[in-house]
Amino acid sequence: MTTTPLAGTSTAVAARATELSKVYGQGETQVVALDRVSVDFRQAEFTAIMGPSGSGKSTLMHCVAGLDTFSSGSVRIGDTELGSLKDKQLTKLRRDKIGFIFQAFNLLPTLNALENITLPMDIAGRKPDKEWLDRVIKMIGLADRLSHRPSQLSGGQQQRVAVARALASRPDIIFGDEPTGNLDSRSGAEVLGFLRNSVRELGQTVVMVTHDPVAAAYADRVVFLADGRIVDEVHEPTAETVLDRMKQFDGKGRTS
């Protein structure tokens, strides 16, 4: 199995997909969602995955995050190969090594903000690291709202709680699935700011699927997918450069 990083950097790799394929159906109705994708997500790097609808960007994230199974290839989180894991081990891996931020926030309405933040540790039966927790809460700026229920918080505040929940257990890698999709631009900017800060200041690794060039501009690197393949990559993106690339793909059309 190849372990050579695709890009020539010396930083350690948090997650790596190699020749990853995901095929739905068989024969005539076969749909290839991912076609031999190889990609590295380096530690303390903020990566955005972009692409048009049906390009396989969400599927890629789900496979790498251990939420979905894949047809062939390999996925590693740290030193762990996901392909050979049973559901139970995958669950444990997600619990201990991975953080998630969803488009629909997905907080538990019965728990208050603080309880939602510590939920992954509660599931694991671990005590949260008090110092770290305080730091995370301070960063997202919700110290005075901790006893509020999600229904008492705005969308932006709810997503900030979700970000804190992902950060609180100090996972190896955080995956975000359109984390700003349900937010207005100001709240979205806040949430993306937190994600970027967590990478810069706390050394967190973040991978985010988005279709918004402005959101992607917060990342260190943007990976473009089309028809289940990685077609391009931009480092230190701006909204303009991202938009330009996207226009190019649209221009090329979806041929294969």
Binding site: L67, R95, F100, I123
Partner: protein, 842 residues
């Protein structure tokens, strides 16, 4: 709108499944009851009608009413009357009928037919048209009998066998000389019939020279009514009356259907309970369906549907669900009816053969009940649907049922419950039967109040379970919070379970307390070691007492007799006892004078003494049933109990005035107390008679316990249906919860809660809801059991409340089991949810 409603039914097939099942079970119970009772009653009526084939007109003795100082006499039908009847124009023949109780033992010495349906009678002459012989010949003399084919088959008796039997105590061992066929209803129902020749039957059944009935057969061409008119001319009006065979058959048919209708009503009450429990599930389901369709319904309103149309669309949906369930329930009910009949057959209670009766009434009732119950239960959710404003179609927020304030509801509930408790408490202070109606009313009010209050009660009660749930970590915490998330739904689900458990617990508390108090009464008031009685409660021949008195070690013995009399122009039943021994055989508290029975000195219970204004030393005049009068003196007044009450006088004083001296029971005290060898000796003295029971106090307690156990088990069985329906309710609620929270469950799986944790969460929620219902039900049941006991206790001196802690623990365990079982499928479903689709679905 109809099409929309129909589509909705099909779209929610799975979610409506439990609702359909709940209605189906209730309807099946109703129609099963109807089919079963109709079938049985039809079969009995047919078989009894056949039994009157040989009777065109029956002559029956009249009884004079008690008047003035005289005890009414039952007139005798004699041979001369029979001969006269046989001689009237239009009469072909006449038969004198004699009957009574006759127990037959099988070859192992066990009683055939359980005692209550063991009958005896007379075989008329050499060829009795009522009983065609299939083998042998007619019985003649004291040592010959004929038995019915069914009894012969069951016990394996043939012509020539010697049979052990008993009529009133002493053992008879006649030879079977004939076996006959009969359509007698009691034989068809599993009893036995033994026939003696007429003289022997008259002697054994205490009516020498008399008949119980004269059956006259009409000559060909003479109608029953013509014959009856002819007979009326010769039969003295004051001694006997005439009835046509047709009327007898009709009367019996009516009696049978009256008896069956009692059973039918009883069963329908339980079916009603099951249906009532079902309404909670129906209401829950439709509430959820409406909540889920808020947008859709609002859209209908926005494009112009009226409120009524929206309500109607929900009701049409309910109609379709109800109709489907009712048809299924009817089919299941017919199956249950058939199964119950064959089940009764295997339990030994043979019922006459006959076709399965599914009357149009049964079909109509089943369909109507199913549809009406469903539509009624869906009516409130339908109304709520109509209240959804059209603008809800645009908003993304679902109208949540829980957001509505519970203040009004809680106020009403508290009011009902408080008034209910007050009325029940007030009723307990009242006397016996006066208190029944208020207590029933109070109970209904309290139950209604608790139904209404359950959402409020759910919070503190479920919060109380928090320390236990904490053991299960995050799953326990989430389960607790989920269970109070929709208090109305949780309440309705728990209430459904509560009803069954309230009734079960209440009955258990009452039965346990009653059993204990009867037991105490028997053991505290009686010092005798043994009670001897007939298996069916019939009276014993005085021979029995004589034989027992002669047994070694018997130190005291008394037969208990019963005789009507007139005192102060009122009918009073006298209890005849052995005055010399009764003092040491009983231990009745004496409130006045002394317990002394002999000659003209009698003891009287306090109630009777009070009603006549007697005290120790009072004298009164009694008229016996033979018309003789005597002055008696009250020696003492005692506290009565259910076994010993009334005016007790010495058998020697009573006997000369009785037509048939016979003992209801015989009390025996022995030197060594109750022991197996003593019992053996007593039984041997009676010739090991299968029809006579020799019971010591322990046997007596056991038989009481057995009776109560049997009764309780039947009630448990009937209430089981309500519990099963409640289980469907819990499954339904959990399935709804899982469905509604699939997004949350998906998220929990994604962030690391494993399948086991999800399963545990659903199971614990189920357990919490079920135990909540269980605790409420058991609590209410104990309260009602206590209250009913207070009412009973006012009439029963030895009444004391017995709380069946063991049983209550079992019921709580049952509630927990319900919870675990109900969660099986929903928990599996929750654990298998596809994470990705669950997270995305909104």
């Amino acid at each position: 709108m109809f099409r929309t409603a129909l589509r909705n039914v099909f779209a929610h097939k799975a979610r409506l499944l439990m609702t359909v099942l709940a209605v189906l079970l209730g309807v099946a119970f109703v129609s099963g009851t109807l089919v079963f009772t109709n079938t049985i009653s039809d079969a009995y009526q047919k078989s009894s009608a056949k039994g009157f084939d040989q009777v065109d007109v029956a002559i029956r003795p009249e009884s004079a009413a008690d008047t003035g100082d005289t005890v009414g006499k039952r007139h005798k039908l004699t041979r001369p009357l029979l001969d006269k009847a046989a001689g009237v124009p239009g009469a072909a023949s006449a038969i004198g009928v004699v009957n009574g109780f006759t127990a037959i033992a099988d070859k192992d010495g066990k009683l055939i037919g359980g005692g209550f349906q063991s009958q005896g009678g007379n075989y008329w002459g050499d060829k009795d048209p009522r009983y065609p012989l299939t083998a042998g010949h007619a019985p003649h003399g004291a040592d010959e009998i004929a038995i019915d084919t069914e009894t012969a088959r069951r016990a394996g008796y043939k012509v020539g066998d010697t049979v052990r039997m008993s009529v009133d105590g002493p053992v008879l061992e006649p030879v079977v000389t004939g076996i006959f066929r009969t359509d007698d209803g009691n034989v068809a129902a599993g009893g036995s019939l033994a026939l003696f020749d007429t003289a022997t039957a008259q002697r054994l059944f205490h009516s020498v020279g008399a008949y119980d009935e004269i059956d006259v057969k009409a000559a060909p061409g003479t109608s029953q009514s013509a014959l009856r008119e002819a007979l009326d001319a010769v039969v003295p009006e004051d001694t006997a009356s005439t009835v046509t065979g047709q009327k007898l058959a009709d009367d019996q048919a009516e009696q049978i259907s009256a008896a069956m209708s009692g059973m039918k009503t009883g069963l329908l009450v339980f079916a009603g309970i099951a249906l009532f429990v079902g309404t909670f599930i129906i209401a829950n389901t439709f509430t959820m369906l409406v909540a889920q369709r808020t947008k859709e319904l609002a859209l209908l309103r926005a494009v112009g549907a009226s409120r009524r149309q929206v309500t109607r669309s929900v009701l049409i949906e309910a109609f379709v669900v109800g109709a489907v369930a009712a048809v299924g329930g009817l089919a299941a009910g017919i199956g249950i009816g058939a199964a119950m009949r064959s089940l009764m057959g295997t339990l030994g209670a043979t019922v006459p053969d006959g076709p399965l009766v599914v009357s149009p009434g049964t079909v109509g009732t089943a369909l109507l009940v199913g549809v009406l119950v469903t539509m009624l239960a869906a009516w409130l959710p339908g109304r709520r649907a109509a209240k959804i404003p059209p603008v809800a179609a645009m908003s993304s927020v679902h109208a949540k049922a829980t957001t509505k304030s519970l203040v009004l509801r809680n106020t009403i509930g508290a009011l009902f419950a408080a008034v209910g408790v007050a009325v029940v408490l007030y009723a307990t202070t009242m006397d016996g039967s006066d208190g029944q109606a208020p207590m029933g009313l109070g109970a209904v009010l309290l139950i209604l109040g608790v139904f209404v209050l359950t959402p409020l009660l759910s919070r503190p009660l479920i919060a109380a379970a928090a320390p236990v749930l904490r053991v299960f970590g995050i799953s326990g915490k989430l389960a607790r919070q989920n269970s109070v998330r929709n208090p109305r739904r949780t309440a309705a689900t728990a209430s459904a379970l509560m009803i069954g458990l309230t009734l079960i617990t209440g009955m258990t508390v009452m039965a346990g307390s009653l059993q204990k108090s009867i037991d105490k009464m028997a053991t505290s008031a009686i010092r005798a070691d043994y009670l001897v009685s007939m298996a069916n409660g019939n009276s014993l021949s005085p021979d029995v007492e004589k034989k027992l008195a002669a047994v070694d070690g018997v130190t005291g013995i008394s037969g208990l007799r019963n005789a009507p009399s007139r005192i102060d122009r009122q009918t009073e039943f006298l209890t005849g006892v052995n005055g010399a021994a009764i003092g040491e055989l009983t231990d009745l508290p004496v409130t006045d004078g002394s317990f002394e029975v002999g000659g003209t000195r009698v003891v009287v219970d306090s109630d009777t003494a009070k009603s006549h204004g007697w005290k120790a030393g009072s004298g009164f005049r009694v008229s016996y049933e033979d018309g003789a009068k005597q002055n008696l003196t009250v020696a003492g007044v005692y506290e009565a109990n259910e076994m010993m009450r009334g005016i007790m006088l010495d058998n020697a004083t009573l006997a000369p005035h009785q037509r048939d001296a016979s003992d209801m029971q015989v009390m025996v005290k022995t030197a060594g107390g109750a022991s197996d060898t003593t019992k053996d000796r007593l039984e041997k003295a009676l010739g090991d008679n299968p029809a006579v029971k020799v019971q010591d106090k322990q046997d007596f307690s056991d038989s009481i316990a057995q009776m109560f156990t049997l009764m309780l088990n039947m009630l448990y069985g009937l209430l089981a249906m309500a519990v099963i329906v409640a289980v469907l309710g819990v499954i339904n609620t959990l399935a709804m919860s899982v469905f509604e929270r699939s997004q949350e469950i998906g998220m929990l799986r994604a962030i690391g809660l494993d399948r086991k944790g999800i399963k545990r969460m659903v199971r614990l929620e189920s357990l919490v809801i079920s135990l909540f219902g269980g605790v409420l039900g058991i609590g209410l049941g104990v309260f009602f059991g206590w209250a009913a006991g207070e009412l009973l206790g006012s009439r029963m001196s030895t009444y004391e409340l017995v709380l069946p802690w063991g049983r209550m623990a079992v019921f709580l365990l049952l509630a927990a089991t319900v919870g675990v079982l109900a969660a099986l499928w929903p928990a599996r479903r929750a654990a298998r949810l596809n994470m990705l689709t669950a997270i995305k679905s909104e």
